[in-house]
C-alpha cells in the first residue's frame, strides 16, 4: 500500500477554502511544538499568544486598530495580484504615505478647521500612489520586473523617512529625539469608541473592502483586471489596455497603502516616528493570499495577522520570549498555506499494491498538468 499524489480532474472548490484553515491548524500545532522546545508549557503559551490579546473589549479594539492598516494594504495588493502585478512594495508605499502625510500635518500645524485632516490624509494617499507610480512607469515603459523595483523602493522609502525624522522633520523642542512634533487635535483621527484607541481610520479599511469588492466583481474594469491576470494573451486579444490596467492597479494599491501609513501617524501614533510600521506592508502580502484575494477573506486573515502581532507582544511581556515569534508564526502560516494549496489541484490516493509494476510517485501526466496549471 502506497500513498500517491494524483492530479484532480479539476480544481477543488472545497480545498481552496479549506486550505487556509488547514494551514492555520498546522501553524498552531507547530507553534505549540516551538513553545515546547523553548521550554514553555505549549498550551499555556498558545493561550497567552492567541487568546489573551482578545480577552477584553479594550484589547479587541486594539486588535482592530492593528488590523486596519494591514487590511488596507492587503486589499490594495489583492487587485495587483489579481492582475499578475507582483507588487511587494506596500510597505514602502505605506511609509511614503506616512512621511508625506506628516509633512503636510507639520506644515499645517497651526491651521484649524475640519478641512485639515482630509488634506493631510489626501497628501498621504497621493504620496503612496506616487511611490507606486514609479514601478508602474518602469514596468510599462522599460519592462522592469516590478518585484525587484518595488522591493528596492521599500528600502529607499525607509531611508528617506529616517532621514526626515532624524533631520528636517525633527521636533525642535524634542530634546533631539528622532521624532516630529505632536500633531494638533485637528490633524488627529477622531476616536470612534470612547475609552479605546479605535479611530476613524479603521472604517476606511471597511470602506475600501466594499469599494474594491464592487470594482472587482461588478465592473468591467475589474473584469479586465482579472482577465489580464488570468491570461495576458487573451487580454491582448480582446483589446484591453494592459498598460492602463497596470497603472490603475498600482495606483490604487499605492493610494490605499499610503492611506494606511498616514492613518497610523494621524491615528494611534500622533506624530512621525522612525518605526511607524512593524512590517504591515509585508504582512499584507501573506494576508492577501491567506484571504484568497477576496475582500471578506482578507478581513479575516487581517484580523488573524493583527492577532499574531499582539500575541508577539504578549508573549514578550508575559513569557519573556522574543517578539520575533510573530515573524516565525507569519512565516509558518505562509509556508503551510503554500503547501496545503497543492491539495487544490492534487489529491492523495492510497494505492493497494496489487500489481508489482513500479511507477514513479508522480506520473508524467500529472506533471504535465502541473506545468500547464502554472
Amino acid at each position: 500500500m502506497r500513498i500517491k499524489l494524483e492530479a484532480r480532474g479539476q480544481q477543488s472548490k472545497l480545498m481552496s477554502y479549506a486550505s487556509p484553515i488547514l494551514a492555520a491548524v498546522l501553524t498552531l500545532i507547530c507553534g505549540a511544538f516551538l513553545f515546547w522546545i523553548l521550554g514553555k508549557p505549549p498550551l499555556q503559551a498558545l493561550h497567552t499568544f492567541l487568546i489573551m490579546p482578545i480577552s477584553d473589549p479594550y484589547r479587541i479594539a486594539e486588535l482592530l486598530v492593528k488590523a486596519g492598516p494591514i487590511v488596507l494594504c492587503a486589499i490594495g495588493l489583492s487587485i495587483c495580484f489579481r492582475a499578475n502585478v507582483w507588487n511587494i512594495g506596500a510597505e514602502g508605499q505605506l511609509l511614503m504615505g506616512g512621511l508625506v502625510g506628516s509633512c503636510a500635518a507639520l506644515w499645517l500645524l497651526d491651521a484649524q478647521g475640519i478641512w485639515v485632516l482630509p488634506v493631510v490624509l489626501l497628501a498621504g494617499i497621493v504620496a503612496g500612489a506616487a511611490w507606486a507610480a514609479i514601478p508602474a512607469f518602469l514596468k510599462n515603459y522599460f519592462n522592469t520586473n516590478e518585484i525587484l523595483s518595488t522591493i528596492m523602493l521599500n528600502y529607499i522609502s525607509l531611508n528617506i523617512l529616517l532621514h526626515g525624522v532624524h533631520g528636517p522633520l525633527k521636533d525642535p523642542d524634542g530634546f533631539n529625539f528622532p521624532e516630529s512634533a505632536m500633531f494638533s487635535d485637528w490633524q488627529i483621527m477622531p476616536i470612534i469608541l470612547d475609552g479605546t484607541r479605535l479611530h476613524l481610520g479603521v472604517t476606511f479599511a471597511l470602506l475600501a473592502m466594499v469599494g474594491i469588492w464592487v470594482l472587482m466583481s461588478r465592473t468591467f474594469v475589474g473584469f479586465q483586471i482579472k482577465v489580464l491576470g488570468g491570461d495576458e494573451r487573451s487580454a491582448h486579444f480582446a483589446g484591453f489596455k494592459e498598460k492602463r490596467l497596470v497603472w490603475l492597479c498600482l495606483l490604487i494599491c499605492g493610494g490605499l497603502a499610503g492611506l494606511a501609513g498616514v492613518g497610523e501617524v494621524t491615528g494611534p501614533i500622533g506624530q512621525l516616528v522612525p518605526n511607524i510600521s512593524p512590517g504591515y506592508g509585508y504582512a499584507a502580502i501573506i494576508v492577501a493570499f491567506l484571504g484568497r484575494l477576496h475582500p471578506l477573506g482578507i478581513l479575516f486573515a487581517g484580523l488573524l495577522m493583527a492577532l499574531l502581532y499582539m500575541g508577539g507582544e504578549m508573549v514578550q511581556i508575559q513569557l519573556d520570549l522574543p517578539r520575533a515569534i510573530t515573524g516565525v508564526f507569519q512565516g509558518m502560516l505562509l509556508l503551510f498555506l503554500l503547501i496545503c494549496d497543492v491539495l487544490i489541484a492534487y489529491r492523495f490516493v492510497i494505492e493497494k499494491s496489487v500489481s508489482k509494476r513500479v511507477e514513479p510517485s508522480i506520473s508524467i501526466e500529472s506533471q504535465t498538468v502541473a506545468i500547464e496549471g502554472k
Binding site: R218, T219, F220, F223, K226, V227, D231, S234, G239, E359
Partner: protein, 512 residues
Amino acid sequence: MDLSSKNSRLFLDGITKRYPGCLANDDISIRVDPGSIHAILGENGAGKSTLMKIIYGVVKPDSGKLYWEGQETKINAPVDARKLGIGMVFQHFSLFQTLSVVENIALGLDQNTSSDLDELAERIVEVSAKYGMPLEPHRLVHTLSTGERQRVEIVRCLIQDIKLLILDEPTSVLTPQEVNSLFETLRQLAAEGSSILFISHKLKEIQSLCDSATVLRGGRVSGACNPREESTTSMAKMMVGDETQISSEYPKAKDSLQDFLSVQHLNLKTDDIFGIDLKDINFSARKGEILGIAGVAGNGQTELLSALSGETILEEPNVIVFPDSDLTHCNPMQRRALGMGFVPEDRLGHGAVPDMSLRDNALLTGFLQGLIGRGFLKNKAIDGFTASIIDQFDVKCGGHNSLAKSLSGGNLQKFIIGREVLQTPKCLIAAHPTWGVDIGAATSIHKALIALRDQGASIIIISEDIDELFTISDRICALFDGQLSPIKPTNETTIDELGSWMAGVFGRQQVA
C-alpha cells in the same frame, strides 16, 4: 488469444488506460503484421494518442498485454521501445531549433552509436537518399521547412533498424505534394518488411495508403476493416457513430464585387526570431463571401492574423482598410466596434481564458453586445448571451460557470465560434476554425459560417486543412513564407494548383 499473436509484429491484447475522469483506452486489441501499413482511425479524444504512447513506452497501461513478435513484452520507457526497433514521429516535433540536423539526430541515439558526428552525417545522407527524403545534415533546424523537419524526425527513426514506425497525424503539416512523397517513402519501408502504424482522421489518405485499419471511438475499438474495400462514408460512420450528420456540400456564394476589407502592401517585420516576416501582402475580402487562405503552419499565418486583429499594430497608414476606415491605429477593441470579429488559432490561452468561466469568456469579446452599462456588468444580459451561445452551438458543458479549460477542445471551439458569430460581425477572421474538432461539430461550425456569409458578412478563413477550404471557401489562396499567392475562385482551381502555391510556386511578379 495467444494464437493470434503468432507471426505478428505487434499484438495488443485488452489494453486499458484510465485517467482521472476519463477512460482513454478501454479493452483495446490490435494486431499489426510485418510489412503492413495499419491505420488507427478516430476522432480527437478517441484514444489514439494514448494508445500510441503506450506502445512507445511513454504511458503505462492499467491492464492488458503487449506482445512483440509473439513474445509478451513490457515496454517501460521509450528507450526500451527503441531497442526493440520501434520509432515514433510525434505530431509536435521534438527538435532543437538552434542545433543542426545531425546534432538533433545524435541526441536521440544511444551514446556509443552517436559519438562520431561525421560518420553519422554520412549515414543520414545515405538513409535519406535511399528513402527519397533528401536532407543536409549540417543545416540548422530552424532554417528547415516544416516538411523537412518531419523528414528529420523520420530519418531519426530509420537510422536505427526499424521494425515498427508510428506516425501521429503526419500529414497535417504537409502540402499535398509532400504528402505524396511521404507515402512513397512509407510504401518502400513497408515493402522492406517494416510495419507502420499510421494515425489519422483523414479518410482519403488512409484509403490510398493503408492495407488494414482499426477504428477507435470513445476509447473502444468500434470497427476494423480493409480501407480499400470501404467507402469513406462507411469508415466515417464507424468513426463518429450513426447519429452524427456528415454533410459536406455547400453552395458557393454568388459573385460579389464589393470589397469590404482591403489589405494593401502589408509588410511586417516580426520580433520573434522564429517568426515569419510578412512580405507585401495584398488582398481584399468581399462582402458575402468566404476567402480561404491555405498554407502549412509557420508560413506567416500567426503574423497575418495578429496584424488583421490589431494585436500587432502596423506603423504605415492605409494598409488595412475596413470598410472605409483606416485601421492603422485601431486596437482590437476598436476594430470590434467597427464590426470585426476574430477567432485566434489557440483557443485556450488566447481565444479564451482557461481559468475563467464560460460566462466570463463570453464577456471577453462580447462586451460590445450591450453587456456593459456605465462601466458596470449587466449580469442578466451576460447570462442571456452565454445561454444563447451554449444553446445555438450545442456546447456540451456543465453550465455557465464551467471553466473554459474543463471543456473538450471541440466544445470550446464551438463556444468561441458561437461567441463571435452571434455578434454578427460584418467581417469575421478565423484561424483553423475546425482544428481538432470532431466531424459533427465541424459540420455545424461550417454551417454557421455559411449562414453568416449569406447574411452578407465577409469571412476570412486561415486553415491548414485543404479539404475544409475547398468545402467552404468561395475564393482561395495560399500563404508561403510570408507571401500570398494569387487568389482564384475555388471552383476554378485544383488541389494540385493550391498545393504548388503552398510550396511557394507562384508567379512572384504578382506578389512583388
